[in-house]
């Protein structure tokens, strides 16, 4: 069992956090601008049929991974460490809840794409 001695999940969470941080910085601004602001304000029109077309293909999977799953783990990591910073938790219970919610969210998003 010596190969497991001293190991913990922190590097895994940090890797997901970092990858999610890149996605949050590079992809989320475009998505928030277009789908969160410009389309709802009527500046840009999107058609249901076109969106379905894009979502069905590889773009939908890229969107799921880069805009939904990885940023979810990024958010989970920061919330968990934020709880520690504010002395409101941050231990294993917080970790279980934060990463657990991110995992369920990611699984749901992936399931939505694979069963579309």
């Amino acid at each position: 069992m010596s190969r497991l001695r001293g190991l913990h999940f922190e590097p895994l969470w940090w890797s997901l956090f970092s990858a999610g941080g890149v996605c949050f910085a590079v992809f989320v601004p475009a998505v928030a601008l277009v789908f969160g602001v410009l389309v709802p304000l009527g500046v840009i029109e999107v058609s249901f049929v076109e969106l379905v077309g894009w979502y069905q293909g590889i773009w939908g999977l890229i969107f799921t991974g880069a805009v939904l799953c990885l940023p979810a783990f990024h958010a989970a990591h920061r919330i968990r460490h934020g709880l520690h910073d504010l002395k409101l938790g941050g231990g294993s219970t917080s970790a279980f809840i934060c990463y657990g919610v991110a995992a369920v969210f990611s699984f749901t998003a992936l399931w939505a794409w694979f069963t579309f």
Binding site: V26, V28, A30, V37, T64, G82, A112, F116
Partner: protein
């Protein structure tokens, strides 16, 4: 006996530097909301009627305001993250380290290119 105080949960209010740190950490709160809206959007693609419902939800002024905050949060996060990246993963070419400003500029360029591509695609271009 030596004297020691323990840090209270409000330590971050003492300096501007720590407040900006907490602001950086808090950028994930509007992000979390945006992610939930987007996941709902993905499910609404299953039929046109549900998509119309999702669109009217997204058009609610309060929701637009939260998503606008998420947009600003993502830009502030990008501003901080792009500066940290060259420090965590300095790129070395031979004996020299690539100047940090180049990496920061390259990352902002990526943001602008992605926005341009998404705008181009949704306004009728082919992906």
């Amino acid at each position: 006996m030596s004297y020691k105080t323990s840090l209270s949960g409000s330590w971050w209010r003492k300096h501007r530097f720590f407040k900006l740190y907490m602001l950086r950490e808090a950028t994930v709160l509007p992000l979390a909301f945006l992610l939930c809206s987007l996941l709902a959007g993905v499910f609404s693609l299953q039929d046109a009627e549900r998509f119309a419902q999702w669109q009217s939800f997204m058009g609610n002024p309060l929701i637009v305001a939260v998503h606008l905050i998420a947009l600003l949060a993502s830009l502030y996060h990008a501003f901080t993250f792009f500066q940290l990246f060259p420090r965590v993963m300095p790129i070395r070419l031979g004996d020299k380290t690539l100047p940090a400003q180049w990496l920061v500029a390259a990352q902002w360029l990526a943001v602008v290119v992605i926005i341009a591509i998404v705008l181009w695609v949704v306004s009728g271009g082919e992906p």
